[in-house]
Amino acid sequence: MINLTDLTIKDAQSLLQAGEITSVDLTQAYLDRIAGIDDTLQAFLTVTADQALAQAQQADQRLAKGEHNPLLGVPLAYKDVLCTKGIQTTCGSKILEGYRPPYSARAIENLDAAGAVMLGKTNCDEFAMGSSTENSAYQVTHNPWDIERVPGGSSGGSAAAVAGRLAPGALGTDTGGSIRQPASLCGCVGLKPSYGRVSRYGLVAYASSLDQIGPFARTVEDVALILNVITGYDPQDSTSMNLPVPDYTAALTPDLKGVRVGVPKEYFIEGMQPAVEKIVRAAIDQMVALGAEVKEISLPHTDMALPVYYLIAPAEASANLARFEGQRYGPRISAGSMWDTYKQTRGEGFGPEVKRRIMLGTYALSTGYYDAYYLKAQKVRTLIKQDYDRAFEEVDVIACPVSPTTAFKIGERVDDPLQMYLSDVLSLAVNLAGICGISVPCGFDADDLPVGLQLLGPAFGEETILHTAYAYEQSTDWHTRVPEL
């Protein structure tokens, strides 16, 4: 007897199409597993069991009519920063407690149309600000490989749900590494698309010029299947690009002959866990064995990425989060005057990390500081982008670690924001440059904690990184390991 929650999306789809299982069976199996295990993992903020089963029934009807669609009847989980019509969307924040959006994010609309089934909304750092999901106002999500450790963040709920077999696939968002880093720490595949590849409409903005929605799944192929559906131009997102959308699964071939892989020397930094470096370098050797040509490259402005990110992202966030004042949605904490009500609502509604970034951003945009901080940061951002442009003249893909460490202990870094920020030091330059990146499992450290290999491609080079990741993945069995829960 097959265990339905062990199936990849691809395999589940074959069985659904063949009529051997139904979407209701599959959905129920996940709901049962969520009911059994999520008390431990705390990956979901909201489980939408009734809607899920209703959607599954509809999918079964479409399947019965012979409709073919790779995600038809497949259950998925969505990060709680993505708007879902009529279903509570909190962004992990108290300030949006009880908020039921009047519309769904474009990516989710596309998945709905494709017949995907929503299992629920996953936990995340408040407004996606964090690297451990500990900044959620609601709960702490646990890493399926070691429940005393964090799943990474900010899309930690989605990563933990996929790694813990609570969903075969999920959506996250990545502003500085928020898909790739938790994918790495949880041992699943996570892809951050190029900026402009997926509509941001309905993604509650943290940093608008950096945010991007992307998929999590257990395999590269499953990630490609989800990407196929969520990608594309959206006239309601002026930053989405009007480019043809390829079938990303078509790029998935098993050898790497002629693929030029660059290894940036700046990405093996001081303070990196030796095991991480060793495992990633071994993965790069494996790529050579598959036919890739590997060379060392330099991305000289890498060390600027962290300070640049922590000026630009908070600056944008300080304006993006101004709308949360309790007038139109979310709880309102009434005080004497209107201004006091504003202050009280925001003071109680936002958590400390969000306030920290709002203050940082407000400062960076203030008269007298704008040129020295925000404008300067934008200039350096251009230099960082140029580093990648130059690198991609020489190589097709850049290979490096996602994060300097494996999953750390819950509580270990909460009092040290700077240490927490360093979790993303290898992932956030990608967002500043607007390019794409994927994290694919590439081994385990001595504590059996997963390590991810980060593969970066140029803007709109998703096919290249999917191909490279797929070829690597298929030559290993890291993705087949299952955490014991």
Binding site: A207, S238, A319
Partner: protein
């Protein structure tokens, strides 16, 4: 005592009459009439996760205005976020152009007391309007119908040196907006709002003293009153040895006084930065050329044409072209066969008088242009004299009836029967021997007395030309 002159710059906020709002697809409606919060959507109520999309028609309208104001239309446009908290501003920031406006470096020529003055236009940029708050005492209500309506902010140089110039500038600008069809110019609907920057200086000096900024002036009249008051206030401050402080002010329409809202040192830091949701907008030259080629005839060109084509005086031409609807009325009358000068006289005379008296807009005038021409023809044909014609005109204005019908109904046709009039003239000559003697003695001014007598007898219906001729003939015979 020092004599002072004001230095005035105006910022005019014009709502654009586009089909939809600046960044979403909600319709633009009359926000003074629509049920509150009925033309709103996730975008203009700033639901989390929504994104703005630039309205192409708003850009087109802004280009039209920029061209009409002789501006450079800039290729590179950036929309920025202007951050401040207020309940009528759902996002907590207004999307507005800051460093890179759509239009810059233009001018507008105005006429004051027969002299033409060129007022510089610094810039014109696109932004979105805020909603409307209604204060209810202990609480306030917010209507977001207006939130996100496209606004064009037109900023002048501080080139105006009198309230009259500021008024002329405002009227001219309003006329252009209406001619372009981008704004209906009705200030009672709040579609045109003003901000005045004012300072004063001793006459003849070219220093720029501290200025104050008066916000939220909702009509030209309010702008004029506020500006007059503020100029006087500033002069008094300087004269009493004080110093004008840089500040933002409001204007109380009831008291007619300006008041301090915020001193400069307390002013908001708007923390402008380019909106990352909107990539820079590049306006192609070809598009601008296309729009330029399709611009309608504007007030200045129309006035020129009225002078050269219809031989009107510059003053009449100006009056007839300031309001687009008036100009259209005038031209429609000419199309109906009216004589240019006669129609001009009627429109600028009786029509304006009655419109002002009854507060009627030209769109609501019951006398059609063709009916006016019919009236003029009755005068030309001698059927009625010009005095009667004014009464007929008033009746037409009142009821909308045709001139001929009114003349007929009321028996107002002029007496041109020479026999009937000659008998009357003879009688009056006989009855006034003293006056006749004096007239014959050289007091020719008495002619009007004789005509007046005839008019009194005929209740004004005598043909004055015929009567005059009859008297002349009779007097000549008596000499």
């Amino acid at each position: 005592m020092t004599e002072y002159e004001p230095v005035i710059g105006l910022e005019v906020h014009a709502e654009l009459l586009t089909h939809s709002k600046m960044f979403c697809s909600c319709p633009v409606v009359d926000s003074t009439q629509a049920e509150p919060n009925t033309t709103i959507c996730p975008v203009c109520t700033a639901q989390p996760g929504t994104l703005p999309v630039i309205n192409r028609q708003a850009v087109e309208y802004a280009i039209k205005v920029g061209l009409a104001l002789n501006c450079t239309i800039n290729e590179f446009n950036v929309f920025a976020r202007k951050s401040y908290f207020y309940p009528d501003l759902p996002k907590g920031y207004q999307i507005s152009q800051y460093e890179y406006p759509l239009a810059s470096d233009g001018y507008l020529d105005i006429e004051v007391e027969g002299e033409t003055r060129r007022i510089g236009i610094t810039r014109a940029h696109l932004e979105e309007d805020a909603g409307k708050n209604t204060h209810m005492g202990s609480y306030s209500l917010v209507d977001l119908n207006r939130a996100g309506v496209p606004l064009l902010e037109i900023v002048s140089e501080p080139d105006m040196q009198s309230v009259e110039e500021a008024e002329a500038y405002s009227r001219k600008l309003r006329a252009i907006l209406v001619y372009l069809g981008v704004n209906h110019g009705d200030m009672s609907k709040g579609v045109l709002r003003f901000e005045a920057n004012i300072s004063v200086r001793p006459v003849g000096s070219d220093e720029l003293r501290t200025r104050t900024e008066i916000k939220n002036l909702n009509s030209i009249r309010a702008m004029v009153r506020a500006t007059e008051y503020e100029i006087a206030r500033q002069i008094e401050v300087w004269e009493s040895g004080g110093e004008v402080r840089q500040q933002t002010m409001g204007f109380n329409e009831e008291t007619g006084k300006t008041y301090t809202q915020r001193l400069k040192e307390d002013s908001d830091d708007y923390r402008y930065f380019p909106d990352p949701d909107l990539p820079p907008l590049y306006i192609e030259r070809e598009w601008v050329d296309e729009i330029e080629a399709s611009l309608p005839e504007l007030p200045d060109a129309k006035r020129e044409r009225f002078v050269t084509e219809f031989k009107l005086s510059s003053q009449d031409a100006t009056i007839l072209t300031t309001d687009k609807a008036i100009a259209e009325y005038y031209e429609a009358a000419l199309d109906a066969g009216g004589d240019p000068q006669a129609v001009a006289n009627w429109v600028t005379g009786e029509l304006f008088k009655l419109m002002n008296q009854d507060e009627v807009a030209v769109e609501d005038v019951k006398i059609t242009p063709a009916a006016l021409v019919e009236l003029i023809e009755l005068v030309d044909a001698g059927t009625i004299n010009s005095t009667t014609a004014k009464d007929v005109f008033a009746a037409m204005f009142e009821s909308g009836e045709g001139a001929a019908a009114i003349v007929e109904d009321r028996g107002l046709a002029q007496i041109s029967d020479t026999g009937e009039l000659e008998a009357l003239v003879d009688r009056i000559i006989a009855a006034n021997p003293d006056e006749v003697e004096r007239y014959l003695g050289g007091k020719e001014g008495l002619m009007s007395f004789f005509i007046g007598q005839v008019m009194r007898e005929t209740r004004g219906q005598a043909n004055a030309g015929i009567v005059t001729q009859l008297f002349r003939d009779k007097f000549d015979a008596l000499r």
